[in-house]
């Protein structure tokens, strides 16, 4: 550990929070609970995956809920050479 380690301690709790938020949105969608944004996310990914090999690790999903409006932002990194299935 560097001598500055004490001052630059890694804050791990924000990572936990972010991982949980994504995971739980996903699991709620699977259990059929009312989270429309998460259901859309799953179905859109499934449709894209039919045609293009996508790496789920490289898919960034952002769910925002603000009062009455939900926004769903899906950022999919395409492989360099798009691999078309069949």
């Amino acid at each position: 550990m560097s001598i500055f380690g004490f001052f630059t301690r890694t804050r791990t709790a924000p990572v936990a929070r972010e991982r949980l938020q994504l995971l739980i949105a996903h699991e709620r969608a699977l259990s059929g609970k009312s989270d429309l944004a998460a259901i859309l996310q799953e179905e859109i990914l499934a449709v894209i995956a039919k045609h293009i090999a996508i790496d789920r690790e490289k898919v960034k999903v952002k769910l925002d809920r603000d009062g009455t409006i939900s926004t769903l932002e899906i950022d999919i990194e395409m492989p360099e050479a798009v691999v078309l299935k069949n």
Binding site: R11, A13, P14, A16, R17, L20, K33
Partner: protein, 271 residues
Amino acid sequence: MSKVLVVTSGKGGVGKTTSSAALGAALAQAGKNVVVVDFDVGLRNLDLIMGAERRVVFDLVNVVQGDAKLAQALIRDKRVETLSLLPASQTRDKDALTPEGVERVINELREKFDWIVCDSPAGIERGATLAMRHADMAVVVTNPEVSSVRDSDRIIGLLDSKTAKAEAGETVDKHLLLTRYDAGRAARGEMLKVEDVLEILAIPLLGIIPDSEDVLKASNVGSPVTLHNPMSAPARAYAEAARRLLGETVAVTMPVEKKSLMSRLFGRSVA
């Protein structure tokens, strides 16, 4: 009007039994007639935490199957007159409980008690679903840790779908009890904060129980922490949570350990 309260979590080891005993004792001390029911058939522990392990004769399974009368199985607490325990069986498994039998016992308990506190087993199987089946209210016990929060979310889903209330189109009143919380670590970004867990689980906060040595000390001697050391930080937090269950408005504070100079110097209690 009696209330059936299930203490549940999904994940094991987060403090369901400790919380059932502490909340049950605090409600009884507030003058309510309380029974704490151990649903963890096969792995009973509530009797041990409440210091009644040598007084168990009949248990929940005996009553459910009609081999004993309810009054024969109930154990009256020796410290608080209005507190009783209905122990689980140690030798049977969870299949020994039937939905009809549990319903009959709960209805019978409703006639005798103001509060029926059901200590759920871990998991999402039969034992856990039977424990929550007839609940009016639920205390979801959660540690500020990823696996516990995930499991709590799952349990909240079950409370909204598998309970008698849910099936009748009503809702079970759900409350979050955050246990083993370390305010210092949360402030340093090493532990999920209260607000993080509340935002993710989206149910109202019943209380914050600080991580404390007093919980183990109380279980060592078989006493609910609220009775063993009422002035300790976890005991005060549980007592406040019980008042909120009774409908009082009590601001949620972060109870802190009061450390003596000696314990500060030597890093452990000198008591």
